[in-house]
């Protein structure tokens, strides 16, 4: 039983196309869960259902087994951080952060105390009297976070909160978010389409595609064992080779070549997938299995390695290989697909 539960959510803006379709998600208390997926797959929509801006056409949203599907936004007490930050430009940093507390009609001294503490926790000391315009991007981001957190929300919802920051600040801020999240133990949903960002801070990741969750697992599990072709592609697998099952752990390609696979799954015909980095280019053929022969078509320089596009008997394969041996286009090479690196989808 999750702390947060989305049950069979369906959302359609125009009553024709479903943006979300039968979406289910369980989140435990205190977890940081990311929604990861390409643009337009429905991440923001999912977040807005949870926040209460969208009433789903079907399905339920439960928090601690209480049905909140039809509770208006302002009664939910969830903290929201928008991609645009949405700070109130006419209020100072202090008043921005105090906004939610003032609405709760708390005592003035209590507000002062809580806001000061939050401003300190978010590393904004001395900026209380500035207006949002007078802040840097990172500072604005922290004000948005402080404003959402000071109301002691039951859930924190973040919609691509780092996408407006430069690369270095993003890394600092995501560590900062993780630190504050763990310290307060607040259940958090984080929307992003950046795989690295998502893996680095999440307890669990929900990979979304076209309105459904394709895989919901820990980052490690998703990285090592993507369950569908979509998930595999999204996290950097580029080679997909159709295979048929011969016996357990042994598969055969269209050309008759045999492949040993450590991670067997229950399927008769499926695709083997492997990352370009995990394929080895070998010179001597001493075993006959897990081997693909092919011809180099294109070579590109990536910095620490070369990338080769190789035409093989089983289709085009992309390989990354170190700079030690350089292969020319047109050259015949032999590829080894290690049994422990092949994933079946």
């Amino acid at each position: 039983m999750g702390y947060i539960r989305l049950k069979d959510i369906r959302v359609s803006y125009d009553n024709k196309n479903n943006i979300l379709e039968g979406l289910n998600l369980d989140i435990q208390k205190g977890e940081l869960v990311s929604l990861l997926g390409p643009s337009g797959c429905g991440k923001t929509t999912t977040l807005r259902v949870i926040a209460g801006f969208i009433e789903p056409n079907d399905g339920q949203f439960l928090l601690e087994d209480e049905d909140l599907t039809h509770v208006p936004v302002h009664k939910r007490n969830f903290g929201l951080v928008f991609q645009s930050y949405a700070l109130f430009p006419h209020l100072t940093v202090f008043d921005n952060v105090a906004f939610g507390l003032k609405l709760k009609k708390l005592d003035k001294n209590v507000i002062q105390e809580k806001v000061d503490a939050m401003i300190k926790a978010c590393d904004l000391e001395g900026l209380g009297q500035r207006f949002p315009k007078e802040l840097s991007g990172g500072q604005r981001q922290r004000v948005a976070l402080a404003r959402a957190l000071v109301i002691e929300p039951k859930i924190l919802l973040l919609d691509e909160p780092l996408s407006n920051l430069d690369a270095k600040l993003r890394i600092n801020m995501r560590i900062e978010i993780k630190r504050i999240q763990k310290k307060l133990g607040i259940t958090t949903i984080f929307v992003t389409h950046d795989q690295e960002e998502c893996f680095s801070i999440s307890d669990k990741v929900a990979v979304m595609n076209k309105g459904v969750i394709e895989q919901y697992d820990t980052p490690e599990e998703i990285y090592a064992h993507p369950k569908t072709e979509f998930v595999a592609r999204f996290i950097g697998f580029e080679n997909f080779i159709p295979l048929k099952k011969k016996e357990n752990h042994v598969y055969v390609g269209e050309n008759g070549a045999l492949f040993h696979v450590d991670n067997d799954v229950d399927c008769q015909s499926c695709q083997a997938t492997i990352r370009p980095d995990d394929i080895l280019v070998i010179t001597s053929v001493d075993n006959k299995e897990n081997i693909l022969k092919g011809t180099v078509e294109v070579r590109t320089f990536l910095g620490k390695s070369y990338q080769y596009e190789v035409a093989t008997e089983l289709g085009r394969v992309v390989v990354n290989s170190s700079n030690e041996h350089i292969y020319e286009s047109g050259q015949d090479i032999v590829l080894l697909l290690p049994a422990n690196k092949i994933i079946l989808v």
Binding site: A51, F53, P72, V73, H74, K75, R76, N77, F78, G79, L80, F82, S84, A86, L87, F88, P89, H90, F99, G100, L103, K104, F131, K133, R147, A148, I151
Partner: protein, 277 residues
């Protein structure tokens, strides 16, 4: 081009300004303050005459009430329009601006038809036996006010929609997520951020109402003169051009004072010192 030469480019503009703005203004002001030497007698006389003061006060009152009513009617309407789908927004704007496209004489006549003794309102009320005698609405300050509001509400709406369109909906949603219901969010976020627009709109409505001529002369009759109709009477009917100039100048000064006051209020309320988000 030499640095000093570029100032030559200003000459045509300056000539235009002097000939068409400064000179007429001076020729308006001069006769009113010179009566065998500098004297403000003409102005003092104006404010000593209860008849004139009454007209002055009526003009101020009508303009102020018109501005306030336009704010009250314009703010919710404009907010609604600004939140509409762009497809509908254009249409709604066109409908709100439409009155501005017809001639002001015709618009005044429309109100005569509505408010008159045998007008639409009185006919309906009498037929329903709610009243026995027609109510006098036409040729009162009320009818002037109605006509003026009708005339200038579109200006307020155009100005406000322009400002409100730029208020990001995220801001409203942020306020809601922090515990504000829609109405509170409107008053705490949208209204303060629309303030620059409200000020500009009010100045437009107020100055417009202050100098409007057709509407008050057609809807106010002779008993409800305002400054603009008084100027007309002085100049073309009585041939008292100096008297007309005095009134014109009082109107200019009133306009400046009101704008200064509004700007002062705006600066007080809008602490950022800049209007845009």
């Amino acid at each position: 081009m030499k640095k000093s030469l570029k100032y030559l480019l200003l000459v045509p503009g300056i000539v235009m300004l002097v000939v068409f703005l400064v000179m007429p203004l001076l020729s308006t002001i001069m006769p009113t303050v010179f009566d065998q030497g500098f004297s403000l007698k003409a102005y003092i006389d104006f404010f000593k005459d209860p008849y004139y003061v009454q007209i002055f006060m009526r003009t101020l009152r009508v303009s102020l009430i018109a501005a306030i009513v336009c704010i009250i009617l314009g703010v919710p309407t404009s907010y609604f329009i600004s939140r509409c789908h762009p497809k509908w927004r254009g249409l709604l704007m066109a409908i709100s601006i439409f009155p501005m496209l017809t001639n002001s004489v015709i618009r005044a006549f429309a109100w005569i038809n509505i408010l008159g003794k045998n007008g639409v309102i009185n006919t309906i009320l009498m037929n329903l036996h709610i009243i026995d005698e027609p109510i006098t609405m036409l040729y009162t300050e009320f009818s002037v006010l109605i006509g003026t509001i009708y005339l200038f509400l579109p200006l307020m709406i155009i100005t406000l929609v322009g400002v409100m369109e730029n208020i990001d909906n995220d801001m409203m949603e942020a306020a809601e997520s922090l515990g504000a219901n829609r109405l509170t969010a409107f008053f705490k976020v949208v209204l303060p951020l629309s303030l620059p627009g409200i000020i500009v709109g009010s100045v437009l409505v107020f100055t417009g109402a202050l100098s409007a001529y057709t509407t008050p002369s057609l809807l106010g009759g002779t008993k409800n003169m305002v400054m603009a109709t008084l100027i007309n009477q002085k100049s073309t009917v009585l041939g008292d051009w100096t008297g007309a100039s005095v009134i014109a100048l009082i109107m200019i000064i009133t306009t400046i004072v009101v704008m200064k006051v509004l700007n002062y209020i705006a600066a007080k309320l809008d602490k950022r010192g800049e209007s845009n988000a």
